[in-house]
Amino acid sequence: MTIIQIQIETSPIATWQLLDEFEQEHLTDNHLIGACSVFTGKMRSSNHNDEVIAMTLEHYPGMTEQQIRTQVDTVIAEYPVDACLVHHRVGEVTPGDSLVLCATWSAHRAQSFRACEEIFEALKSTAPFWKKETLANGDTRWVESNTKNPRP
């Protein structure tokens, strides 16, 4: 049975601390795990050649967690893993802030690599989050699309 933790939060994502705590709490006794893959996404200070100084991340509480869980279940049916941890930031962020953490643990590297990538790509194309950028000149704009597959 896969251990799955999905969390949406307004406080900063302490990537490596969260990974440590998750392993300590759930995985210390599982010596069959030989691989852990981690993806962490950060806010950049540039988008479409404009300087971005801040961003607001909005989401659909309830549907977001449910949608990520559905995607995780679909991916791990194909690439079985022992554990999956997903954290996503919402609210006000600035360049350099961690926006997302996706980690998977498995016996061998192939499953954890593939599951981590597939879960993250599924999150990006289907989880109901929206970004609004604040540019250096004070203008604000919604990020219109971030994926080649916009229809879930």
Binding site: H88, K124, S125, P128, K131, S145
Partner: protein
């Protein structure tokens, strides 16, 4: 039939409200809800019913929560 409608991101700003309630016996599908909006939704608008992705032809029941939002941009 009572339906709760939610709007997110740019669609919330365009509609001017985050949420409204429809009370009507003439609403049977999401398309009926869309038709009752004065302001047309962009072509790329996404729909959910009870927090699951849905389509204009999705049938509704009283108490359902319908949401309209633009393409998602998380991650």
């Amino acid at each position: 039939m009572t339906i709760t409608i939610k709007y997110f991101a740019s669609l919330r700003e365009a509609q001017g409200v985050a949420e409204r309630t429809f009370n009507s016996s003439e609403v049977h599908t999401v398309a009926d809800v869309i038709a009752r909006h004065e302001l047309a939704f962009p072509e790329n608008t996404l729909i959910s019913v009870n927090q699951v992705y849905a389509y204009p032809e999705t049938e509704l029941n009283s108490g359902d929560e319908v949401a309209f939002f633009p393409p998602v941009t998380g991650g």
